[in-house]
């Protein structure tokens, strides 16, 4: 009876450790999942070599691709930072897209190895292209 009880408690113990780990890990560093560009710029010297995430919008017209890398400017309306991303950007990456970039500072530029799109909460049907819908007259 005691062995049965002990064996039944093992999955619970494992789950308890997992839950504890998730709460500690997930709700300490990742509670603030990203910093805005202004915040990141302010803490750049303190961050040093640490990994961090910066979020902003892609400045239209700033995107350059070269040899598997993407270089673009990220802004939050107040501060702007140049980002070097190694690899392909995600599907919805475009001018003006809301992007979360994960990486670290290299001088005053940001070196990124992961780009995420921070999708908002609106859902809309595609707009009809007025010119295409109208008559040619």
């Amino acid at each position: 009876m005691k062995l049965r009880r002990a064996r039944a408690l093992v999955p619970i113990a494992v789950l308890a450790v997992a839950i504890g780990g998730l709460l500690v890990g997930g709700l300490t560093r990742n509670v603030v999942y990203f910093r805005t560009v202004s915040e990141a710029v302010d803490t750049r010297l303190d961050d040093g070599e640490d990994r961090l995430r910066v979020a902003g919008a892609v400045v239209p017209g700033s995107v350059r691709t070269a040899a598997g890398d993407v270089v673009f400017d990220l802004t939050d309306g107040q501060a702007t930072v140049r980002v070097h991303h190694h690899g392909d950007p995600p599907e919805l990456f475009d001018d003006g897209a809301p992007v979360v970039s994960e990486g670290r500072w290299t001088g005053t530029q940001f070196t990124s190895d992961r780009l995420m799109i921070k999708h908002g909460s609106e859902y809309e049907a595609p707009t009809v292209d007025a010119a295409a819908a109208g008559d040619d007259s």
Binding site: L15, A18, L22, Y33, I117, P126
Partner: protein, 245 residues
């Protein structure tokens, strides 16, 4: 439960799920930004909704079991059945979220507050189900689990408000946002509503079936005890512990 009622609920879920398939795949327009990948919302959001409802039902049933005036085995059965469904729909929510997140957000997963607390929710109720199997009398196990279910439910509002309280990659609520201003309209909103209704009907249908199964299991156990007693009486033994000659 009445067979007619069960059949009606089953039929309702089947028809509303079919309507959802048609609306979600063909009638609703693709999203302006996300395109067709956004159609996963019509599964992901209803699944999350059902998970909340299922754990809510588990908590209510647990409370009813714990309160002496309403204590009855049926609440314990409902609590378990609903928790199983809650775990199923939480896992489904996470899987659908990953499928949707990959093309739209760029990642399968992120350790942000919403996703972490949802994973915690899954583990909490899997723990609840594991706790039910720790040896003990029927009443002890039921009472123990009921308390565990109520404690675990604390995570549900945390999951829902995580995107509002903390900075997350996951979006803020589209419908149940703090401003109570839904940012979805037209056919998309209707389809989402049909999805919520369809998944709720499915949940009710599965819950009743699972409950009937639990009751049949309990009856079988009681029946087995009655049979054992009858056999011993027939063999001339009138106590439960005496060994036959």
């Amino acid at each position: 439960m009445n067979v007619l009622v069960r059949r009606t609920i089953g039929l309702a879920s089947l028809s509303s799920l079919s309507a959802l398939a048609v609306l979600g795949l063909a009638v609703a327009p693709p999203d302006r930004v996300q395109g067709d990948a956004q159609r996963l919302m019509y599964l992901h959001v209803p699944a999350a909704w059902v998970a909340y409802v299922a754990f809510g039902v588990t908590s209510l049933a647990s409370a009813l079991y714990l309160w002496r005036r309403t204590r009855h085995a049926r609440w314990d059965r409902i609590a378990t059945a609903s928790a199983e469904l809650g775990v199923l729909f939480t896992a489904l929510t996470i899987a659908l979220g990953a499928l949707w997140g990959r093309p739209v957000l760029g990642v399968w997963w992120a350790w942000d507050a919403r996703l972490v607390t949802t994973l915690v929710l899954l583990f909490l109720y899997v723990g609840y189900l594991a706790l039910r199997n720790v040896p003990g009398s029927r009443e002890v196990r039921a009472r123990r689990s009921a308390i565990a279910a109520l404690v675990a439910f604390v995570d549900v509002p945390v999951v829902h408000f995580s995107v509002v309280w903390w900075r997350t990659l996951h979006q803020q609520p589209t419908v149940l946002n703090p401003e109570l201003n839904p940012q979805i309209e037209g056919v998309m909103a209707t389809t989402l509503l049909v999805g919520v209704v369809a998944f709720t009907a499915l949940y009710v249908s599965l819950l009743t079936s699972r409950y009937e199964l639990a009751r049949a299991e309990d009856d079988a156990q009681v029946g087995a005890l009655d049979d054992a007693v009858a056999r011993r009486r027939a063999a001339g033994i009138h106590t439960l512990t005496e060994v036959g000659a």
